[in-house]
């Protein structure tokens, strides 16, 4: 009798659970924020999002160096973006504090900054390059390539930032439920063993 009730209530609860899954809308949710930062020239761009793609507006951004010293602070704009000039050639940790316990961070290494700003730090290239189309020196070629690479890579950077704030996939959701029921099976198994042992002891 007890057993049958168990199964019935289990079936009913499963119904509720699956209904919840059916109406759930994985792409749009909160409780996780992400920040993504990249270097272009000597500016660091950051983009902050809630999971699901909603922008984090007017949230606090703090920038720390490798030793934990705070270098600067700012707030994100209406589209969740914040940019700043590289304050120091060091590993930078960009921390997003979206309030209500939501926090995320992203680290930019020193080499990334060096690569980003390496060419623009040098002497401004002479403007004579147009006149002697063939005679581009090494530095100028490097600068041109990096310029166009920056431009070409920007959408890809954005795509990466976007995918980082994606919600959990169906596989993960179903997997999680599977884990819970696996645990239930384990718990039942061990309880059963204890019960049987007690029974055995009584029989002896």
């Amino acid at each position: 009798m007890e057993k049958r009730h168990d199964i019935q209530s289990l079936a009913f609860m499963l119904l509720i659970a699956s209904l919840l899954i059916a109406v759930s809308n994985p792409p749009a949710l909160a409780h996780k924020v992400t920040i993504f930062a990249w270097v272009e020239g000597n500016t660091v761009y950051t983009e902050s999002k809630f999971m699901g793609g909603n922008k984090v507006r007017n949230a606090q951004i703090m920038v720390f160096d490798g030793e934990g010293m705070q270098l600067l602070e700012g707030t994100t704009n209406e589209s969740g973006e914040f940019s700043f000039k590289v304050p120091k050639l060091a590993d930078l940790t960009v921390v997003l504090n979206a309030g209500m316990g939501h926090r995320a961070e992203w680290t930019i290494t020193e080499s990334e900054i060096r690569e980003g700003s390496g060419t623009s730090k040098g002497e401004p290239a002479p403007k004579t390059s147009q006149q002697r189309a063939v005679g581009l020196n090494k530095e100028e070629i490097k600068e041109l390539i990096e310029d166009s690479l920056d431009r070409k890579l920007r959408p890809i950077m954005r795509m990466i930032a976007e995918s980082r704030s994606r919600g959990p996939s169906v596989t993960e959701i179903v997997g999680g439920i599977g884990y819970i029921f696996g645990l239930m099976g384990l718990a039942l198994y061990f309880r059963n063993r204890i019960k049987e042992k007690q029974k055995d002891n009584r029989d002896d």
Binding site: S9, L14, A30, M100, G175, Y179, I180, M184
Partner: protein, 205 residues
């Protein structure tokens, strides 16, 4: 409602973990054979409910369903939520492993409080009283969770009052929706599975 990793200071994390461990211990002690499937089902319901986004209001908020969890499970909602939150932390990166204890207390303690406050009232013969208390149970659990979040943030840098206001305003729509969900769930369970309710007062869960 999930607090991210790296926000809270160590004493808060330790206190949260200790409280959660105590709650889970009480829950496990009370978990007898026929309760295990129920705990698992409500745990997975909680696990997916956090994915349901409530698109109202200024911030991103989601369902918690800790009211109905607490009402049906009592102390057992501690282990149920620990498991669900642990999986959310690992699979979805909600919250995190170090804040697991704090997050468990934030979600489960209001459930237990609601169980003691409304456990008898929702079983009332009069439909009005049981309905109203089911609604209150659902929304009060969210309210208390918000207070607990604000309380754990006090020890960082945010002031209690402003943090609490922010969280409660953001979760106002959730409170209303949770109240309604709890109301309908309990009304449904009452007509379909009345013995689910008898269990709480008859024998301790």
């Amino acid at each position: 409602m999930h607090i991210s990793e790296g926000v809270l200071s160590a004493p808060v994390l330790v206190a949260g973990a200790a409280l959660a461990a105590g709650g889970v211990a009480v829950g496990l002690k009370k978990m007898d054979h026929e309760k295990i499937p129920q705990v698992a089902v409500l745990s997975s319901a909680f696990f997916v409910a956090s994915l349901i986004h409530v698109p109202v209001g200024p911030s991103n908020a989601h369902l918690i369903i800790n009211g109905i969890n607490g009402l049906l499970l009592g102390w057992l909602c501690f282990p149920a939520m620990l498991v669900a939150l642990g999986l959310q932390a690992v699979l979805f990166q909600f919250g995190g492993v170090t804040v697991l204890g704090v997050n468990t207390v934030i979600m489960a303690l209001p459930g237990v409080i609601c169980y003691y406050l409304f456990g008898g009232l929702v079983r009332d013969e009069r439909r009005l009283i049981s309905g109203v208390s089911a609604f209150l149970c659902g929304s009060l659990a969210v309210f208390l969770s918000g207070i607990l979040v604000a309380f754990s943030l006090v020890f960082t840098q945010e002031s209690f009052f402003s943090a609490a206001m922010l969280i409660l305003v953001a979760h106002l729509p959730v409170m209303i929706i949770e109240g309604i969900i709890t109301l309908f769930c309990l009304a449904f369970l009452r007509s379909v599975k009345p013995e689910l309710f008898g269990g709480i007062h008859g024998k301790t869960p």
